[in-house]
């Protein structure tokens, strides 16, 4: 685990996602929303809406454990993970796959 990075970034692995939108259904923070355009494989991958609101992005390193994590647990295709990265720029919508 990357210890010196204060924040994590939520990423959807576009290669694994099958577009079932279960993450959209369960996220208590409404960070996911249904996508609009099919990708190269013809799958409509969900989009991220202000993912900096995800508590796991902000607090996982601080608490040393997964906070919430509902989207990752329910994702049947193991497509959701957090990677250690620089903090999101404030209020900038990042769409990261």
């Amino acid at each position: 685990m990357v210890k010196d990075v204060p924040c994590m970034r939520l990423v959807i692995d576009e290669n694994r996602c099958k577009g079932c939108n279960l993450c959209v259904l369960v996220c208590p923070y409404k960070i996911f929303r249904e996508g609009k355009k099919p990708n190269r494989k013809g799958i409509v991958v969900p989009e991220l809406d202000r993912p900096e609101r995800c508590p796991n992005c902000r607090l996982r390193q601080l608490y040393g454990r997964t906070i919430c994590g509902l989207c990752q647990l329910i994702c049947p295709d193991q497509a959701i993970d957090w990677i250690g990265e620089e903090p999101y720029e404030h209020m900038k919508v990042a769409i990261e796959y």
């Binding site: 049947p76 295709d77 193991q78």
Partner: protein, 262 residues
């Protein structure tokens, strides 16, 4: 450790359909295994044949993908020959309750120290949506085109009656509860049976107007009734709605166990 690290990432994405609940069940199971602090060398996954039985192929431990219905018999051999190993099975309603029904009741009777995670999706998914022993009365499938007329099995009640030490039932909507249930199953000596009522949008959903996985999830959310509430209703002489999915812990007990290490 994160449960994703237990996956054979070189085999992903999995073969499961979009919206299939099996991936969620694997996530919750692996999350429970991770929280036990076990090493990969201590865990073996087994399965029979069917959609859910493909699960061990995506997990980076030793795994035995066996013949249809027989995983419990194979697991009995693995566990008795090497009690050090923690043996976990993935199975489905057709695999466990139809072709493997005999092995199921006998494994429960022996109360052998295994954890069985049953993905009950009411249907044979791998072969294209045929009726199974848990298809509800009236539900359509490719072999019950006019609606099933057979009374389905209640697998949790069956496991309990046959003698399993731990039995609980959840759905993929209840991820945290399911994870906790699998963990309780792993901790309980003897046969632990965790039934997961799972959505199958492709096989079951297509034939029963539940093609959209969100509608399926809404059913799990709305119709699920905690065991305690169902018991209370019965006690008060009130009926439990016939379409209710009774979820929760059915039993946790300490009958004599077979195959426990030491």
């Amino acid at each position: 450790m994160n449960f994703l690290e237990w996956y054979r990432v070189d085999r992903l994405p999995s073969i499961f359909c979009a919206g299939c609940g099996i991936g969620t069940v694997i996530n919750c199971t692996l999350s429970a295994v991770t929280s036990m602090g076990w090493r990969r060398n201590d865990v073996v996954f087994l399965s029979g044949i069917g959609c859910s039985s493909r699960a061990p192929g995506y997990i980076r431990t030793d795994s035995l993908h066996t013949t249809h219905g027989r995983a419990l018999a194979f697991a009995t051999g693995v566990k008795l020959a090497e009690p050090r190993l923690n043996v976990i099975l993935f199975t489905g309603d057709g695999d466990l309750a139809a072709i493997g029904g005999n092995h199921f009741i006998h494994a429960c009777r022996r109360n052998i120290d295994l954890t069985v995670v049953c993905v009950n999706n009411y249907i044979y998914g791998m072969t294209g949506g045929q009726g199974s022993p848990t298809t509800p009365v009236g539900a359509r499938s490719s072999t019950t085109p006019y609606g099933s007329t057979e009374t389905p099995f209640d697998l949790s009640e069956l496991a309990m009656a046959a003698g399993a030490n731990y039995v609980s039932r959840w759905t993929p909507y209840h991820t945290k509860e399911l994870t906790a249930a699998v963990k309780a199953g792993l901790e309980t000596p003897g046969l632990s049976f965790i039934e997961v009522m799972t959505q199958c949008p492709t096989g079951y959903g297509r034939a029963n107007r539940l093609r959209d996985v969100k509608e399926f999830m809404e059913i799990f959310r709305m119709r699920s009734m905690l065991k305690q509430k169902a018991d209370r209703l019965l006690k008060e002489g009130k009926p439990v709605p016939p379409d209710a999915i009774v979820i929760g812990e059915f039993v946790r007990r300490s009958r004599p166990v077979m195959g426990r290490r030491g």
